[in-house]
Symmetry: C2
Subunit: 555 residues, 2 copies
């Protein structure tokens, strides 16, 4: 944009209000103030004269302008404009006139007779060109080439085959020869960040502050998230948000098809029953409330309420001071809970099939989006699913054994009291990928010591539990279990975990079991994590529209 | 249950731990303490003797019991039990053996040789009978007839045609002749409320404290909500929760089919931008956050982020001290936002079709549930939809005129500054039902004075706005509008409403418009209100799983 022919924006606001108001209360005005007023008056007169001159010039130019009415503000008319989407354009559109609404990704005046626009629609780009030839005037070319980047314009033009493919456009085999260009929504001249600078992955910590080959500073993830609306406009963000949408859609589709009921449980709860310190406190009229950390207790109460199979899609709140690449303080939870007849593996089978369905269908239905994301995040396309369509299920102790084979030994105490560390989980993910050729797998039978109080112990070995975690690329995306449905067992389990069943807040939950509750199991998925690990994104914030962490409450 | 043959539950816990521990630190024990210990020892010995006697009797009875193994705790076995659901039973099941899992709705011993169970599955009831005949023993009959109400049992029996239909059962044309009965989950002997007492509508305020024809006190809505898990077990609650599930499902179905993207916007926000006093404050680490009152600003930011059409299904929080039949402090919001090409009526048409789709499909897909609800709430089945499948759309001023015809006149000031009162809305609903034969309609062009700052004024008459409300039975279920997408217009509108655009919290929202934003419109639906008004329920709390209001934070 260092072009010397770059037009300046015409001044649209008159300056004739610059003269000070002459009020009746200026009796005590000093000599200085009078001088100042006189100066300002002179200045205002000069400005007015200049404005008048510019106006006259503009009028003269307009009088001569053969393209009058073909550009500028969109005319207010009753006429219905029919627009074409970029995705509808093809070689069959050659030589046809179309009207598109798109953002100005870039505008460039080549000469007084030629200008280029790069037009962008949900990240897709097409080049448009405007050349002087009746009725297109120099004024119209100047206007077009001088459009503020990111403005939304309505462009009418003829689709042409470019002599050579436009390599800087995503749709490179066609070009738009402009006939009309109207402003729909003008962007400010200065943007806090260029959308095109957000089109590559954010720099790693080591790369921060560096510049790229063209000398442009690398835009940090922080800057991108601070300006998330601009960041969402990139082709990659558009594709990622489609994948997020897809995960929610596929989850609900599968649950509904299975005969499950969609529930909405309260996020405002009266007591911090699920681990006190990680819960957000809310001022609720004259008392305190808390934000639910999960719908766990409520979905179980729905099961006790004879609903048999329920699911929920709702925000989950965690007041954890965790500043990592995979923790958020608010995320989208996909929860389900189901009764079973004979064995909790009925529910585990169901949940495995659910995940296989989601991941398989993501690959099938969102192949174009995955291909786009792959350009920035190469792992996006390589997520390995089990070949036979059935999830790989191992026991926790099988995982321990696989790690031992690889030289990572856990002590007896570690095995039963600690669970895997994040590093171990990742290593196990690698081992399983190599051995079983899958990035998705399930570990069953976790130690009882590492699971919450409502988890059912393994009846054959009480050191273990009827609980499972689901993993993608070696990172956990779901935790679930058979739940205790017997009141005495539940109260004993609470006491064993150091919880007091008579504590305020547990009453309603425990009553649900006193009144009879069928055997059931379930799980809770983190939507953002599924998106992150499926696509191999470096940070969960890229898989959240407006991420929340201990440091971030905006935008 | 005043039957004298009612068995008492066998004592399962031994009392041999009642004797005090004799520790080595009792040197200073007083005479009194010794006396007390001696007394307690004698008592314990007596109890132990009684327990031993009971045990002996039980063993003797068991030795004679021809039904041993056919009742009691479900045997732990590897055998897979295949169960039948009540809904699968029909006349074709006559004389076949089935196994069902159900709650004991009622248990009654008729004689030493005959007992009855009413079994309940998701509110549906079937009678089961047990009669003494090899191998069924008197002990088994006593056990069956003495089961605690609400316990979950597994019953195997032969399906028979009863001599006369069982009028107290919902499935009256078949009966189960019991062969086996096992306990799955035992309910306590005393329940805070009987499920059958929650099977009719809650009493009105005037009826509170009254008794029914049989002398049973009417269970208040408060008691029912306090014991919501039991209340959910009624046939009516089961049906209502299916309708709620259906509304969410149909909304998402329609939105997805239209090409809209499912979004998840933050509920934790940094500033109380949408009307300060009605917002819940949250302790967010070392600062304050607030709970979003709607996804309004965020869904607009998604539109500015080029997402074109978005929808969200998420909780909405309102810190309003409104204790009415239709206000909740937390409810399920169904939100959407869409760009349009030429006129906001493109979006309004879309939204009208959305509601017609939801309401029509509810009637089609949930006819059995509606029929059940109708037994308690007669209006449930009479919701009138427009005959031609197109929503009735009137202007606000048409509504004013209809009310005037009916004798309700609004002053000029009222018309432009007040909007309708709730009473006026209801009356207008009546008038429209009579005149247009529909319970669903739309009012367009509300006065600008009664709409929020982001609402677009009507370009032809600035007293009005491009905004609309949707009504069901004369009560509002949706509010929506074209939104201002020009930054200058937006800032001016904020100032006109007494808001300061430079206030903290607005920055990110306003920047979205500074960077260019396409014209768009949208709306927000209250899921619980749709359910309430569609079914003609007297209180929105009946259309919420675990309702929240200023007084209620539990269960």
């Amino acid at each position: 944009m260092a072009d010397s022919e770059l037009p300046t924006r015409p001044k649209t606001e008159a300056t004739n209000e610059a003269a000070p108001a002459e009020g009746g209360d200026s009796k005590n005005a000093s000599k200085n103030a009078l001088k100042k007023a006189a100066k300002e008056k002179a200045k205002a007169e000069k400005a007015a004269a200049r404005a008048a001159q510019e106006k006259a010039q503009a009028a003269a130019a307009e009088a001569n302008d053969t393209a009058k009415g073909l550009y500028g503000q969109r005319p207010d008319s009753e006429e219905i404009v029919s627009t074409t989407r970029f995705s509808e354009l093809s070689e069959e559109s050659y030589e046809k006139e179309v009207t598109v609404v798109a953002r100005v990704d870039n505008a460039r005046v080549q000469s007084a007779k030629l200008a280029f626009l790069m037009l962008r629609q949900q990240g897709q780009k097409i080049q448009a060109v405007i050349a002087a030839a009746e009725p297109i005037s120099r004024q119209m070319i100047k206007y077009t080439g001088g459009l503020n980047v990111n403005s939304i314009v309505q462009v009418t033009g003829i689709v042409k085959k470019p002599e050579i493919p436009i390599s800087s456009a995503t749709i490179s085999h066609l070009e738009l020869h402009i006939r009309k260009v109207y402003m729909i929504s003008e962007a400010a001249q200065m943007l806090p960040m260029q959308v095109k600078d957000a089109e590559r992955p954010p720099p790693t910590e080591a790369e921060e502050g560096q510049v790229d080959a063209e000398g442009t500073p690398l835009v940090t993830l922080k800057t991108r998230l601070d300006n998330r609306v601009l960041d969402l406009q990139t082709e990659t963000s558009q594709a990622i948000t489609w994948i997020s949408s897809g995960v929610a859609q596929l989850f609900s589709e599968y649950m509904i098809k299975s005969g499950s009921r969609w529930i909405f449980t309260p996020k405002l709860v009266g007591a911090a029953t699920e681990g006190g310190s990680n819960v957000f406190e809310v001022k609720y009229f004259k008392r305190n409330a808390y934000l639910a950390q999960s719908p766990q207790l409520y979905k179980q109460m729905c099961i006790a309420g004879d609903m048999e199979s329920v699911f929920e899609i709702a925000p989950v709140f965690r007041a954890e001071e965790s500043n990592t690449h995979r923790h958020l303080t608010e995320f989208a939870g996909l929860d389900f809970e189901k009764t079973f007849q004979n064995h909790y593996h009925e529910v585990l089978d169901f949940a495995e099939d659910l995940l296989v369905f989601i991941l398989t269908q993501l690959k099938e239905r969102y192949a174009p989006q995955i291909a786009i994301i792959q350009k920035s995040y190469p792992k996006a396309g390589d997520f390995k699913l089990p070949k036979d369509g059935k999830a790989l299920r191992l026991n926790y102790m099988d995982g321990v054994a696989l790690l031992k084979e690889a030289g990572v030994d856990m002590s007896e105490q570690e095995r039963f009291e600690n669970d895997f560390s994040t590093a171990m989980e990742k290593q196990l993910g690698q081992i399983i990928r190599e051995k079983y050729d899958t990035d998705f797998y399930v570990l069953d039978k976790f130690p009882m010591a590492v699971r919450p109080f409502y988890t059912k112990a393994d009846p054959t070995d009480s050191r273990f539990s009827n609980s499972y975690d689901f993993f993608m690329r070696g990172e956990e995306i779901m935790s679930g279990a058979q739940r205790i449905n017997d009141i005495k067992e539940l109260e004993a389990s609470m006491r064993a975990k150091g919880l007091d069943p008579t504590q305020e807040g547990f009453e309603d939950y425990l009553n649900a079991f006193r009144q009879g509750c069928p055997p059931h199991a379930g799980g809770g998925l983190g939507m953002n994590r599924i998106v992150m690990f499926f696509l191999g994104l470096p940070n969960v914030r890229l898989a959240s529209l407006f991420p929340r962490d201990p440091q971030r409450l905006r935008p």
